[in-house]
Structures are given as C-alpha cells and as structure tokens.
C-alpha cells in the first residue's frame, strides 16, 4: 500500500481537497528517487516527503497554491536554482517536483 495515495483517498472520502507533489527527476545526488511523493490537504495535513526535509516547506506552499486553484507546476530545487538556493538542498543535487491539485 502506498501511504500517500491511501491518505489522499481518505481525504477525498472526507470531502477535503488536496494536492500531490511527486519527484519526477533527480539530477546528480538526491536522497529520494523519482516517484517519491508528498501530499497536502486543504486543512494543512501532510503525508510523505520529497527530500531529506529541506524543500518540504517550499513544496507545502506550492501545494496550497495548487489547492486554491493554481495550475499544475513543474518545480526545480537545487544548487543551480537561485530561488531555491535559500531553500537549500543539503545533498547538493537538483530535484524536479511536479505539483498538481487532486481533481482527477
């Protein structure tokens, strides 16, 4: 069983909106591989993770934006990304994360 999808399904049953963030690509060194995911519910619950913990706060914000009606987005975090530099990926790689509202 996949704990993230399990939780998203449960939120859906409860009538809660949610967003799913999935690691789709890892360049050089990254702690978690493609397919690793994290989900956020409209009331702020989080399940799963997408890194060693360093980019989760930023992804959380993006997920909330998606829930509020934002378009799906492909995000990149890593040393090559100035914006993400503040977020900081401890392992020194770049990860690409797709964030989408669960409306399917």
């Amino acid at each position: 069983m996949n704990p993230v999808i399990d939780k998203v399904a449960q939120w859906s049953e409860e009538g809660k909106m949610a967003a799913l963030a999935t690691v789709v690509k890892v360049e050089r060194s990254g702690p978690l591989g493609p397919g690793t995911s994290m989900a956020v519910s409209e009331d702020g619950q989080v399940v799963g993770s997408v890194s060693g913990g360093c980019v989760e706060p930023a992804v959380y914000e993006e997920a909330m934006t998606a829930i509020e009606g934002g378009e799906p987005r492909l995000l990149s975090y890593g040393i090559s990304d100035d914006e993400a530099f503040g977020v900081g990926l401890t392992c020194g790689g770049t990860i690409h994360i797709f964030v989408e509202r669960v409306d399917w």
Binding site: M1, I5, S12, K25, S29, P72, C91
Partner: protein, 273 residues
Amino acid sequence: MAGLLSRWHAALAEQSPVAVATVIQGPEGSLGGKILVFPEDHTGTAGNAELDKAVVETARGLLEGGRTETVHLGPRGQRRMEDVAVFIQSFAPPPRMYVFGAIDFASAVARVGKFMGYRVIVCDARAVFATRERFPSADEIVVAWPDEFLKTAEVDGRSVITVLTHDPKFDVPVLKQALGTSAGYIGAMGSRRTHDNRTARLKEEGVTDEQLARISSPIGLDIGARTPEETAIAIAAEIVALRTGHSGGRLAERSGPIHEAAAETSTGGESVR
C-alpha cells in the same frame, strides 16, 4: 472519490499492477493530463487520442519491468519529438524473495527481506523447520523440495533467490533450477569449503563458468557478520549493491555523489515502491 484516484487507490490496495502517466511539460493547458494504465485497459487522457495511444503503449512496457521514467513525445504522440514530457510511474506488485532452507539464518533473512519490501517465500523440505512459529514475518511458508517448488514458482528479473541450506543434497538441484530463471539475484550460503564442494558438483552437473558467475557464493558482502541478523544485513547489502551496480565499501573512504541519478528503481514494496 473521483474516478482516477479511486481506481488508482483500488489497484494499490489489491496489489495489482498500474502505471500512472502524467503530463509534466508540454503546450499550454496540457499540464497535469493523466492516464492510469493497467495491463488490459486504461482510463483518463493526456490530451488527445494519438498521444494517449503512445503513452499507454510506453507505460505498459515500463510497467512490465516495474520501471519509472519520464518519456518525451510529440504533441500527437510522435516518437523522436520532445514537446511533451510524460512522467510514468509504475506501481508493480512487490518483488519476490525466495528463501530456501528454514534455518536460523533464514529467519533473519526473511525478516530483512520483508523490511526491504519483498514478498518473502520460505521453502524447506523439512516440515519441522518450515513453520509459522519460526517465520512469523514470511508471506508464504512452503514445505516442498526446493527445486521442485522453484519449477512452478513465479520468478522475474526483480526476484531474489537465496539458498541457505548449505547441504549439497538441496543446494545443487535448487541452484541449477534457479539458473534457469531470470532472477535478478541468486545467492548461496556456505563456508569456503562448502562453496568449493558445491561449485565442483554444479560443474559435474554441466553448469558452465558463466552460469556460476551469476551465483553470489559465498553469499553476502564481507562485513565480518557473525550472527544470523548480521549475516542477513550482509546479504541484504549485497542484494542492493548488485541491483544498483555498486561495489559496497565505506562512503567515508570515497568521494563523489552518494545517490547516482540511476535508471533503476527501488524494490518498491510500495513503490510500489
């Protein structure tokens, strides 16, 4: 629950294979298009019928191998075009670990196998050893001659076969049978002397040097393991190292990236990984 989520969730709960394809890059408005691909059917759309056809075809291939990848296609599913990127994630059932020989070491190997996400099947011809009390964590416990059992067992490239009996009467036939499968890992336990003796017997049985090279024997990485638990860790580490093409050894004594952006995917008990 909406349609796709509900079917995705159901497939995972039943441990039936499913690939989830999502458009992650492409023309305006196409992002987030999603198809669930099952071995026999599919549901959802990536945007248009031609693109769907190409995505479904590709996803079935990836699903068979339990692989997760991003593929690039044209807006109408054309190969050799790059306009659309589709992330395809395979949720295949957990890979299998076969543990032959219901000794104390087997109990620890079965536990570590379960911990790693394998579906663990323990098999021994001796009913007194192959018991639920001794293997509480195993998914299946089979009392049968190992080679006979392996003839009908499901084995694929993600399967792991460990032969822990270190008794030639069991080892040799089951290893011969294992070499006829596509198992990703075959390991056999035993001292150097057992190993030499077993190797000689396998050769007498017509096993070639090339085939012998597929067998990790003596089994495990050289970490000085003594107890069944430590030995199970040494075996687990070797299974991972062979799958990823790493040699083992201390990270502290190396430089360079720790996690390579490799194509291989995790065992995914829930990756189903």
